[in-house]
Symmetry: C2
Subunit: 472 residues, 2 copies
C-alpha cells in the first residue's frame, strides 16, 4: 500500500514538473479534449447524425490524428491530409472507372495491379528528402485513401454519397481542430524556433561571459570564487546547443505553414534561422573544446598565465557580451549591429592585446620554466578563444542579415545596409584604433576570417611563420 | 516539351540515385505494395468479405499505418496499435456501461465528460519523455479507439460484433505486415544502428589517419601531396558524426523490439551503442577543432613545427588506427582489445615523445623567433591531439565493454574480463616501456584521464605548473 502511495506521489510530482516546465502542455491537452468532445457531437446530436451518418467517425479520427502541439504542425498535417485525400480520391474514382471497363472478372485484377503500382511508387517517393520533410504524412494518407477508395468502390454502389459524407466530416473535424488550435492559446512553431535560437545564443553568451572568471579563478579574490560556486549552471547550458539541429529543422518546416502572428509575418525568413543555428553549433563546438580545459587548475599559476589572463578574460567576456547583445536584439526584434559590433570590436582588439602579450612573453621572461610543455594548456585556451571570435563574427553577420530580411526595427540614425560591412563602420572606436596603429607597423591586425581561406595572403605573401596573418 | 523532358530525366536520375544509394528502399516499397494488394483480398474475395464485412477496410488502414522501413519500427508500431486498441476498447466498453446506467438523457453527457477527461490526460501523458520515445503511437491509437468505441457504442446495438470484426481484421492486417516485413529481405533497426556506429568510428579513424599528412604536407615529398589531393573526402566524413544523435536514439528504440537476427540476440545491449555514439561525438568535436587549423599552411614551416611533426603525426595516425581497429572489431564482432590497445598505447607513448620534444624545444633553439605567437597554432594542434587520445581511450573502453556485454568472440588466449584494465595488460610493450622509464624519473607519463577529474592529484599534490599531470 505504501509502495502504491509512493509511486502515485512520484507520478504526481512528475506531472506537476512537466506542467510547470511548460504550462502550454496542459493547455494543449485540454484543447485536444475539447476538440474531441466537440466532434463527438456529430454522433450525439441527432440532426447532425442524420445528415452525416456513420461517417461522423471520420471527424473523430481527423481530430485525433492532426491535432499537434504547434499551429504549424497542425496546419501542415491538415493540409497534407486534405490534399492526400482529394488526390487519392480523384485517382481512385478514375481507376475504378477503368476497372469497371474490364468486366466482372477482370475488375479485381485491374484494381489489384493499380493498388500495387501506386502503393509501391508512393512509398518510394517518401524516401525523397524534400517529400519526407514536408509531405510524408500526405503521401501516407494518399496511399491509405487510394486503397480504401478503390477497394470500397468495388463493393458499394452508393460510393459517391459515402465519399461526400466522409469528406465533409473530415473537413468539419479538421476545421474544428484548426480553429481551436489557432484561437485558444496558440503555440506557434515559428515563435518556438525564434525563442529556441535566441536562448541558444544566450546560453553561449552566458558561458563565454563566465568562462574567464572560471578559468582564471584561482587568481581572483575570494568573493568572486564564492559567487561563482553558487551557480555553475551556466557552464552546462551550451550542451543543449550541440544537439539542437533536429529540433530546429522540424520547427522551421512547420513554421512555413503559419499565418502572421505576433511580430512574424507569413513570409518570415524561417530558413535563415537554420543558418544562425548552424553557426551557433560551431560556436558550441569551440566551447566544448574550451570546457575540457576548465577543470585543470594548477595550484600556483605560471607567469605565462598571469600575462595572458587579462586579454583572455576580455576576449572571452566581450565575445560573450556580443552574443548576449545578439540574443537581446532578437528578443526585442531590433537591429543587433550597434551593440554587438562594439563588443565584437572590443574582442578583436583584445586579440591584438593578447598577441602583443604573447610576443613579449618570451622577451620579458626568459627565466620562465624552460619548457613549452608548461604553457601549452593556457596557450591552447588562448588559441581557441581567438578562433571563437570568428564564430562570433559569423553569428553577428547572420543575425544582422536576419534583421534586414525580417525587417527588424532599425535604431534611429542607422542605415539598413544589405550586407553589413563589419570592418568599416566608422563609428566604433576600438577596432579603428587598432587599424590606425597598424599603419605605423607596431600592431598586428588579425583578419581571423582569412585563416580558413585557402587563398589567404599568407600562402602567397612573404608573411612569417606566425599562425595568423600579419599585416606589415 | 523540352523542359518537360528534362524535368522527367532529372526525376528519373534522382530515383535511380536514391535506389542505388540504398537498394533496400526499392525492396521496401515493393513489400508495402504486396502487403496492400494482399489485404485488398479481404474485399475482393467473397468468402472473406462475407466473414468480415465492411470492417475489412481496417486491415488496409493497419497495413498502411504500421508498415515501416525497419522491422523494429514495424513491430513497435504494431505492438502499440494492438495494445492501444485493446486497452481503449476495454475502457470504452466499461465507460459505455456506466453511461447506460445514467439513462437516455444523461448518456451523451456522461460519455462526453469521459471522452474529455481521458483524451486530455492521455494527450498530456505524451509529454513524458519515456512515453514519447516508446509509446507515443500507442497513446494516439488509445485516444482514437476510445473516442470511436464510446461514440459508436451510443449508436450501434451490434457493437460487439463490430468490435470483433474490426479487431480480427486489424490482427490479420498487422500479421500480414509483420510477416512480410520480417520474411522478405528484412531491414533490421539493430543492424542499421550497429553499422551506423561502426561506420562513424571508421570515419573518425580515416580523418585521424590522414590528418598528419594533410597538416604537415608542405614538408613531405611531392608524391604524397598529389596522392592526397586526389581524394580529400576523408576530411569531410566526420561531419556526419556531429549530428548523428537523433538517428542513433530512434534506431536504438526500435532495435529493442527486434527478435534475434544475424549475430544479434533479442537482448543485445542496444543502449550501449548510445554510449559509444556519445563518445564518438566527443571525438568528432575534437576533430572539428583540429579542422579549423587545417587550412593554415605557412610557406616555410617553423623550426617548432619540424620538431613536433614526427610525434604529432604518430599520435594522430595511431589514434586513427586504434579507432579503425575498433571499427573492424565491431564489423567482425570480435574482441577489440588486442589490436586497438597496441595502437592506443603507441599513441600514448607518442604523447611522451611529444612532451619531451616540447620540453627540449626552448632549450635546443633559443634563437627561434622570439615570440610565442608564432608557435601557438602548432602548439594548439598538438594539444588537441593529446586531448583526442582521451576520447579514443573512452571509445576503446566503451567498445570493449560492448564486446563483453554482447559476447563478441574472444581471440584465443585472451580472458574476458568484466572491466578491462587498460593500463595493466602486461602484454603490450610501448606503454609498459614508458612506465618503466618513468620509474627512473626521466620520462613524463600522462594520465590523460585525470585532466577532467576534479579530484586529480595536481590539485592536491605539489606538481608543477604543467598542463598535465606529471609523475615525478
Amino acid at each position: 500500500m505504501e509502495i502504491v502511495k509512493n509511486k502515485a506521489m512520484e507520478v504526481a510530482m512528475k506531472v506537476k514538473k512537466l506542467g510547470q516546465d511548460d504550462p502550454r502542455r496542459i493547455i494543449h491537452s485540454i484543447k485536444v479534449g475539447v476538440a474531441l468532445t466537440l466532434v463527438s457531437l456529430f454522433y450525439y446530436w441527432r440532426p447532425l447524425y442524420d445528415g452525416f451518418g456513420a461517417s461522423g467517425i471520420w471527424a473523430v479520427i481527423t481530430v485525433v490524428v492532426i491535432f499537434e502541439f504547434t499551429v504549424g504542425a497542425t496546419l501542415s498535417k491538415g493540409f497534407n491530409r486534405g490534399l492526400g485525400t482529394l488526390l487519392a480520391g480523384g485517382l481512385g474514382v478514375g481507376v475504378d472507372y477503368l476497372a469497371n471497363l474490364s468486366g466482372q472478372k477482370g475488375e479485381p485484377f485491374v484494381l489489384g495491379v493499380f493498388v500495387f503500382l501506386i502503393a509501391t511508387s508512393a512509398t518510394f517517393s517518401r524516401f525523397f528528402p524534400g517529400i519526407k520533410a514536408r509531405y510524408d504524412y500526405g503521401v501516407l494518407i494518399f496511399i491509405l485513401t487510394f486503397s480504401m477508395v478503390s477497394v470500397s468502390a468495388y463493393r458499394f454502389d452508393e460510393f459517391l454519397t459515402m465519399a461526400y459524407q466522409r469528406l465533409s466530416t473530415i473537413v468539419a473535424g479538421g476545421a474544428i481542430c484548426i480553429i481551436i488550435c489557432i484561437v485558444v492559446c496558440p503555440v506557434w512553431a515559428g515563435e518556438t524556433l525564434h525563442n529556441l535560437v535566441t536562448s541558444n545564443l544566450d546560453k553561449l553568451g552566458d558561458y563565454l561571459e563566465g568562462f574567464g572568471g572560471e578559468y582564471f579563478y584561482c587568481c581572483d579574490d575570494e568573493e568572486q570564487v564564492t559567487s561563482i560556486e553558487k551557480d555553475k549552471s551556466f557552464l552546462q547550458g551550451y550542451k543543449a546547443v550541440l544537439n539542437s539541429k533536429s529540433m530546429e529543422d522540424s520547427m522551421a518546416n512547420f513554421a512555413r505553414w503559419e499565418p502572421k502572428h505576433g511580430n512574424f509575418s507569413f513570409r518570415h525568413p524561417w530558413k535563415h534561422y537554420l543558418k544562425i543555428g548552424s553557426y551557433a553549433r560551431q560556436c558550441a563546438y569551440h566551447i566544448q573544446a574550451l570546457n575540457t580545459h576548465l577543470n585543470f587548475q594548477p595550484p600556483n599559476p605560471s607567469q605565462f598565465r598571469t600575462i595572458i589572463q587579462l586579454p583572455c578574460n576580455t576576449l572571452s567576456s566581450q565575445s560573450g557580451k556580443a552574443l548576449k547583445a545578439l540574443a537581446t536584439a532578437m528578443k526585442t526584434m531590433s537591429d543587433p549591429s550597434p551593440t554587438s559590433q562594439v563588443h565584437l570590436n572590443a574582442a578583436k582588439s583584445a586579440i591584438n592585446d593578447l598577441k602583443n602579450c604573447l610576443k613579449s612573453a618570451t622577451t620579458q621572461t626568459p627565466d620562465e620554466p624552460s619548457n613549452l610543455l608548461a604553457i601549452i594548456p593556457d596557450a591552447t585556451v588562448a588559441s581557441i578563444l581567438i578562433e571563437m571570435v570568428k564564430s562570433v563574427e559569423d553569428l553577428c553577420e547572420a543575425v544582422s542579415e536576419l534583421s534586414v530580411k525580417a525587417h527588424f526595427k532599425r535604431v534611429e540614425g542607422s542605415v539598413a545596409v544589405e550586407k553589413p560591412q563589419l570592418l568599416h563602420r566608422g563609428a566604433i572606436k576600438p577596432f579603428v584604433e587598432a587599424e590606425g596603429e597598424d599603419e605605423n607597423g607596431h600592431h598586428v591586425v588579425i583578419t581571423v576570417r582569412e585563416i580558413e581561406n585557402e587563398d589567404s595572403p599568407q600562402k602567397k605573401g612573404s608573411s612569417d611563420t606566425n599562425g595568423f596573418v600579419n599585416k606589415k
